[in-house]
Subunit: 228 residues, 2 copies
C-alpha cells in the first residue's frame, strides 16, 4: 500500500499542511478502496466514519429533493476530499456520492482527522478556508438557480465543466455525463436539457456526439450564461 507522506495527491488539498509525523500516522491507519462505476461511496443518511481522499476517478454528489427528484450538488475528482463536513458537524450525511467511472480512493478514519484538526492549527485553518470558499461558491449557485433561466444555467454549467475537467486533444470536455445528469446539475427536466443542448449544437456554439461534448464558441456561451 502506498504511503501518504509520499503521495502527490495530498498536495492538492488541505492534507498538505500536515507534518511528516502526522502523515506517517495517517498512512498507517488509512485504507485504500476501489469503487466501480455506478457504485455508491456513501448514501444519504449514512453515518460516515472518516473522510475519503480521491486518488482517481470522478463521482457525483447529489441529494434527493422533497419533490422526489435527484439534484447533483457537485462533482468530486482527483485531489478532492469527500465527507469532511458530515464528520465535523457529527451528523449523518445529507448527500449521496456515486462513482461516474471506476475510482481509487483512500479512507482516513474519523479519529485521525479530528486529532489533527485539534492539534494542528495550520491544518484546521486550511480546512476552514476551504469551507469558506465552498460557502462562497454555494452562494453563487443559489443565486444562479434562483435568478437564471435554464438556458443560462446550461451555458454556465458547460463552461464550468470545461474549466474543472479540461479537454482532451480532440477538444472534448474530459468528463462524460448523461443528459439526465446534466439536467440534474442545472435543475431541469431531462427533455429540456436535451432540447437546449440541441439548440446550442444547431447554432454551432457546441458540438457533441453522444456524451462527448466540445465547446466551439466559449465567448458566445459566456454571453448566453449572462443572459444575452
Amino acid at each position: 500500500m502506498s504511503k501518504c507522506e509520499q503521495c502527490i495527491i495530498r498536495q492538492l488539498n488541505s492534507l498538505q499542511h500536515l507534518s511528516k509525523e502526522e502523515l506517517i500516522r495517517m498512512s498507517n491507519c488509512k485504507t485504500s478502496k476501489t469503487i466501480k462505476k455506478g457504485e455508491a461511496i456513501f448514501e444519504e443518511g449514512d453515518r460516515l466514519k472518516g473522510v475519503f481522499c480521491i486518488r482517481e476517478g470522478v463521482c457525483k454528489v447529489s441529494k434527493m429533493s422533497e419533490n422526489g427528484r435527484n439534484h447533483i450538488i457537485g462533482l468530486v475528482t482527483k485531489g478532492d476530499l469527500l465527507g469532511e463536513r458530515s464528520l465535523i458537524s457529527d451528523e449523518t450525511s445529507n448527500l449521496k456520492a456515486i462513482a461516474l467511472n471506476d475510482m481509487q480512493v483512500c479512507f482516513i478514519p474519523k479519529e485521525e482527522i479530528m486529532k489533527d484538526l485539534e492539534k494542528n492549527p495550520n491544518f484546521s485553518l486550511s480546512v476552514l478556508k476551504d469551507m469558506a470558499n465552498n460557502l462562497k461558491q454555494a452562494d453563487n449557485v443559489i443565486v444562479d438557480m434562483a435568478q437564471k433561466t435554464v438556458k443560462q444555467r446550461l451555458a454556465e454549467t458547460l463552461l464550468n465543466l470545461q474549466a474543472k475537467f479540461g479537454t482532451n486533444k480532440e477538444n472534448v470536455i474530459d468528463v462524460y455525463l448523461s443528459r439526465e445528469d446534466i439536467a440534474n446539475i442545472i435543475g431541469t427536466a431531462t427533455e429540456s436539457a436535451i432540447r437546449l443542448l440541441s439548440d446550442l449544437k444547431k447554432n454551432k456554439i457546441i458540438m457533441f456526439k453522444g456524451k462527448q461534448i466540445s465547446i466551439l464558441n466559449s465567448s458566445e456561451l459566456e454571453r448566453i450564461s449572462q443572459g444575452f
Copy 2:
C-alpha cells in the same frame, strides 16, 4: 461601553468558546456601532477588517446576480456573527448587508479573531462546525431553488421565517419584509410573490395586513411546500 465577558449575546455563537482572558482582550479592542434602517453594514466588494456580532436588529444579506437582480441569501439577527467567511478566506466580501431596522452591532478587528482561531482549537472547531452547518443548509437551498416551484418556495420561506423569528401575541411573524424582499428571497418577480401571497390569503392559509403576516394553517403550508 459594555464588556464582552459579561455579554449574553456571545452565548449564542462561537464566541462562547473563548476563555475569559480572550474575551477581556476582545472587549478592549472591539467597538460598538449603531446602524440605521436601510443603511449598509458592508457592500459587495468591501474588504472587511473584522467581524460583526449582532446585538440587536435584523439585516438582509444579499448578492447581485449577473441578471442585475438582487438575491437575498439570508437574514442575520441577534446573536449571529457576520463577516467571518470573507475574513477567513481573506477576500473582499461577495455579499452586501443592509439593515432592515435599527441595529446595534459590535465590531471585532480581524487580528483579534485570527489570533483566537490559531490559538484556541475549541473556538476554531466551533467556527468550523458552524460553517459545516451553513454549508449543509446551503445545499438544501440549492436543491429547493433548483427543484421547487415558486409557490413551494414561498410556502417554505413563510414557515422558515416563522421558525426563525417567531410570532408576537397576535400571531404575527416577528419580522417585517417588503413584498420585494420576499420575492428576492424566493427568487421570483415581485408581482408573482404578491399574487401567490394573495392566493394563500384567499384560501385562508395565511393572513396579512401590509407587512404583518400570520400563518393560519401551517400544516397546509407544509403540504404546499412539499408539492401537494
